[in-house]
Assembly symmetry: C2
Homo-oligomer: 198 residues x 2
């Protein structure tokens, strides 16, 4: 294996190790450089060969999480295209996502209100992207003006993320109930927006 390949592999080991540590009891600012290094199987000081600090690693993780989020929306659109209600399919896809990528979603959720301004900003940007994509989609499907679509998209994303937070703590049956509640709530928003007069 070439030296460059080896380095990339170690870097990926560090990232994976960090995601593993980010379970329900650990936030980004609570995982230490030494812990990550230990989990990645390298010496603490070797960490610096790959990242300037632990914060640089953190921002990398947020980026990866944002990427996963964008893939999520693409997947939902694909599934909607093959039939099924927009709201039902989207919520189902989202719930599957947080089940399969629990730590990724937890990272976003936690750092959104976390102690690092840099992380908060980074997460906020990812969420804004998500809202913008949804806004465009709503304009396209419901042919409403941008202002209204943007308000609707923002409300929907907030409701879904908030429900997702609750779902993280819930077992499977409760998760289904949460999903069905948020579907109703999204319909409230959609209905309300459609008859709203400025």
């Amino acid at each position: 294996m070439s030296r460059q390949e080896q380095k990339l592999k170690t870097r990926q080991n560090i990232i994976n190790a960090a995601f593993t540590l980010l379970d329900e009891n650990r936030s980004l600012s609570a995982v230490s450089l030494r812990e990550v290094s230990r989990a990645a199987g390298i010496a603490p000081t070797s960490f610096y060969r790959h990242f300037k600090d632990i914060d640089e690693l953190g921002l990398t993780l947020v980026d990866e999480a944002g990427l996963a989020l964008r893939q999520l929306m693409r997947q939902a659109r694909r599934r909607i295209a093959t039939g099924g209600g927009v709201i039902d399919t989207s919520v189902d896809t989202f719930m599957e996502f947080i089940t399969a990528n629990t730590n990724v979603f937890r990272l976003l959720l936690r750092e959104h209100t976390g102690t690092s301004a840099a992380y908060r900003t980074a997460v906020l940007r990812e969420i804004q992207h998500f809202i913008e994509e949804l806004t465009d989609y709503i304009i396209e499907r419901q042919s409403v003006d941008h202002q209204l679509a943007s308000l609707q998209a923002e409300a929907m994303v907030r409701l879904v993320f908030s429900a997702g937070a609750e779902a993280l703590e819930a077992d499977v049956p409760l998760r289904k109930a949460i999903g069905s509640r948020v579907k109703s709530q999204l319909r409230f928003v959609q209905l309300g927006a459609s008859i709203y007069k400025g």
Copy 2:
């Protein structure tokens, strides 16, 4: 001053000191027992005369924050009774609250998704109380059934809290904009719920 009075005063000093430390860069699990003690003007070991651990202090803080939340709702109701729209007045009251009690709201927001299961549960319970109170209020004012009122209340609280999170990072003019956005979104929910068919 009697010994008991003195002890209560010191206890309050500890609580106040802890709230002071809970600024934008510090979470409950990130403030150390030593830091709190230092800020409260006592020796680290004296802390144990008042709380079993730092977690017991944390739960106390969550309780106090929940109390403030309930007072907030009472204040909003009082203001609504003296005239003004329900949604407008509620959002305005809420925004004033997070401006005047930033660290209290931040505590709830942060620990809601934080690393301590005990804190998460405690915060969740406070939010549930809040939703239930709003549910009763909606039933009373709009005479809808419990199921629908509960969904509506939950959606509204989630939207307001989420907007509050964003407002924490924003300056005054942006805060006003956030407030006016969330007002529209609450109207979506209210309108939608009023014409929703199961």
